[in-house]
Symmetry: C3
């Protein structure tokens, strides 16, 4: 019954590494509009650095909960396009996802359970004469658009039972009085977004110390405005994960930190 | 009666300093789609330089008249997110606007009259557990989306009667035979957009002289093609304000002019 | 009958050189939403380099086939805005197109036949007081939006019978055992997209040799993954035209090739 309620979707999202200077994104939307003209087409982002699948996996994971549950999400960061890597459509936790099976689901799979996955091997749903260099337009988008019309996942291909490809999405390492994670994303403001879930750090947040190389900041704040202009601040980002920022400044530039850089959280005594 | 006709909206716009490399904009659209799936979601721009509220105030003002009057416009340039700055929804002149009360309305208020403003203090309309770093997604967008469904402004919070925050949006200074304004925006083409309303300069436009530092251009033209390739031109921009351009060139680079730079208009005799 | 079925459109696309840092694109969408609130508004791209009409002509041509046939496409790369260049709406092949008559149709006209063209000289359909610097917002978009409601092309202006403006969109030159074309676009990945239709090169594709200056690549591949990481590859791009890439690399940077650069295809014996 719940599944039936969810069978159609009004909203289709796209996340790619295509950028916006070409018409690749527009072409995918044209294909979607031709199949389901009532879809609301939403861009998550198209500025994933070219072919950085793991970066995309973090970004994709963080965006999903803002959308209605029936939404269908398409991700195309696909260095293996045209090779024997598989294309899949998946119900994972509350999400409906369409992408190459190349690790894009790595972060989502850390917190959500696979319910059903199919390999997109039924060409009935593909665009005619799919280009070997653009499966996003010719296979992933047509399938996602048909899915939004209420077709069942099983129509798009064979049930996939083997494990999905996952990349080594680093899990924070917990010590006795420390937790070591890493920066996984830097946003437009230069804010450093980490893979550390702040909900594991809630006791005595004032005693926490955050270290990135020689850089230090003390105490977990609630918002940027808790510190003075130009001062560093550690807080819970909008994704629920630890974020290091400089108020009205650019932390990535000032701390000279990049994605993958190690961050250590230290405390005295017990943290719940 | 007129108000009743306007109570729902088909169109919701966003103006932010979020850029497009992150999914912040997409997340706001997801929240909107969950509340009113029939909304047309339009980006004004997301490339406001980080936290430049006054720049955003000019840009926002210029974009509004292109939209149907019932449209709801959300602006999020919000360095004070999470602090005690207020969030508001406002009916100002013919516009319906949702934003932090931090000066974003400064330019609109120069030409339109406040009709009704409420402080967004009724959490019934917010997203559950709003993030202290992303009120755009968790408070402003849900309120704007509910407003588009026809709810009355008064449902979202207490009537605001005190003055709104305004920044010193420079007004041109008029001399006997001159007017001194400033460059308030530079567009992608390098065109210099000023705060000078051309409708105050319509008599004998051929005798007008425009000065930016040592740079000079004579006479007000009608369009770029009125001058030869590579030549400077002064004309009425699409916003109705004075614009200085180089035909098929980049005035900002060639004149080395930036936002805030002074521009003087001189004439002989009387200008209406 | 077929024409009647196509008379309304759900989808309106935009291609411009406006960039996204200003609100010009948003303003055009606002005008469209005011005329036909049910339109799906799709961006092709807004990152055409300023005023490069021929570049836009290639990009526009490649994007059209992804859309439903009734879609209306608006292109605004318009260095002559406000001059005596004409604005037109055209039915060309299966496409419905609205643009300045300045060469934007040059590439489409190489493969599709003009059915009907009108000059947009009926101000009834324009926005009131159109700005001389922004016909995209004040003339092209209102006409396109009215067209989407089912109005006939003839309502927008006088039938145009003289030839449309075309730019010298280079056609590949065929020799006895070679074909000489050029690079017409470079995408975000640095892939070099040429004006050579691969369907003319299908026999014995392994013997083909591709030359850009001193750079060489042998054989036509099917997809990027046909070669090792960092190796060059020649293949059929998603537009159907020859593309040179470096797998997981940036061919434009590594080969130091730019738009307009010559590419020669050589073979032994006969190519169909």
């Amino acid at each position: 019954m719940a599944a039936a309620t969810l069978s159609t979707a009004n909203c289709l999202t796209f996340l790619t590494d295509f950028g916006l200077q070409d018409t690749y994104v527009g072409q995918m939307k044209g294909v979607a509009a031709g199949i389901n003209p009532r879809l609301q087409l939403v861009d998550l982002t198209h500025e994933i650095p070219p072919q950085q699948v793991l970066r995309a996996a973090y970004v994709w994971n963080d965006a999903l909960d803002a959308f209605p549950p029936e939404t269908i999400h398409v991700a195309v960061v696909d260095p293996g396009v045209g090779s024997d890597r598989q294309l899949i459509a998946a119900e994972i936790g509350p999400y409906r996802l369409v992408c190459p099976d190349n690790g894009l689901l790595s972060v989502i799979l850390q917190r959500a359970t696979v319910r059903r996955v199919v390999t997109l091997d039924n060409p009935k749903w593909w665009r005619a004469n799919p280009a070997d260099t653009f499966h996003g337009r010719d296979i992933l988008t047509p399938v996602a658009s048909a899915w939004s019309l209420g077709h069942d996942l099983s129509e798009f291909g064979a049930l996939r039972t083997s494990a999905l490809v996952t990349l080594a999405a680093a899990q924070p390492q917990r010590g006795k009085t420390s937790l070591t994670g890493q920066i996984v994303q830097i946003d437009r403001f230069g804010n450093l977004i980490t893979n550390i879930d702040v909900r594991g750090l809630t006791a005595d947040t004032e005693s926490l110390r955050f270290e990135i190389g020689a850089f230090r900041v003390e105490g977990l704040s609630r918002c940027y405005a808790d510190v003075n202009l130009g001062e560093p601040v550690a807080l819970t980002g909008s994704s629920g994960r630890l974020e290091i920022a400089i108020r009205n400044g650019n932390a990535a530039e000032e701390i000279q930190a990049d994605c993958g850089r190690r961050i250590v959280v230290r405390w005295e005594g017990t943290v719940v």
